[in-house]
Symmetry: C2
């Protein structure tokens, strides 16, 4: 069975190559960017600007093959791909929580972007912390990588 | 341009019809369920059980058509589809944060499921609050619906 999606827009960022990219939105290296939603989807943006943060779902379009175990940027041991945010997933869907700074017609000005320039956008969802209240969160292998989370940058390992 | 994905598993829940379903994971009505990851993806689950919460991405397979504005369960006014979590989206991708209770071979026992039984699973990502630290969150039109968030249930409007 196949599920077929079509991009609804394009994500623009300062990051034109995988090397040196921030590895997640809260990284010190993540930066401002803008998202162009194709005009035929403009009506879907109504009332979005009331939200300060949005999830963007996108296609990791530069990933050519998937792997089931990877050694992520924040560790030197291999982990199952589903226990990481690495892009080389069976279905290469990316998820980032970004800050929505301003909506200008069908262009979203955003902050904390950790996405490659020209990435195809698949969906936008409002971020509602109340939907995701979580107590006693454990973060597995990442626990010991905490101190490096916001400074570590990408390299080309997932090309 | 098309992006083609293939399910990596199936989500099982107590919810066999859209009517009466919880509308999001933190709802009082959300319940336990299990996720069957297809055996060929088992290796990708290594070390996942260190995480207490995971994002599941899935295909809203019962949605037959998309709408750009919808009147969501928590309001009586229409909003742009991207300012809601409603399933009838241009690309019907669902996102839920669920609690991972136990991993048993390639079966994930989860809690706080707000997904229809037999929903095709597209991806699993670890939940890492540190990746998504957000200050000064505003939640737009949902602000005035706060008190109803955890009790309101689904009906068949997005069939």
């Amino acid at each position: 069975m196949e599920v077929i999606f079509r991009p609804i827009g394009i994500i623009h960022s300062p990051f034109t190559s995988l090397e040196g990219m921030p590895i997640q939105p809260s990284s010190d290296a993540s930066g401002p960017g803008f998202i162009e939603v194709f005009p035929e989807f403009s009506d879907g943006l109504k009332d979005l600007e009331g939200f300060s943060h949005i999830y963007i779902l996108y296609h990791f379009h530069m990933v050519k093959s998937s792997r089931l175990t990877v050694t992520p940027f924040l560790d030197d041991a291999p982990h199952g791909i589903f226990a990481t945010r690495a892009p080389s997933r069976p279905n290469p869907i990316g998820l980032s929580l970004v800050e929505l700074v301003r909506l200008e017609s069908n262009t979203l000005h955003v902050n904390r972007v950790d996405v490659l320039d020209n990435t195809p956008l698949l969906d936008i969802k409002p971020y509602v912390p109340q939907f995701e209240e979580s107590a006693n969160v454990r973060i597995g292998w990442l626990e010991k990588a905490k101190s490096r989370m916001n400074v570590r940058k990408s390299d080309d390992r997932f090309k």
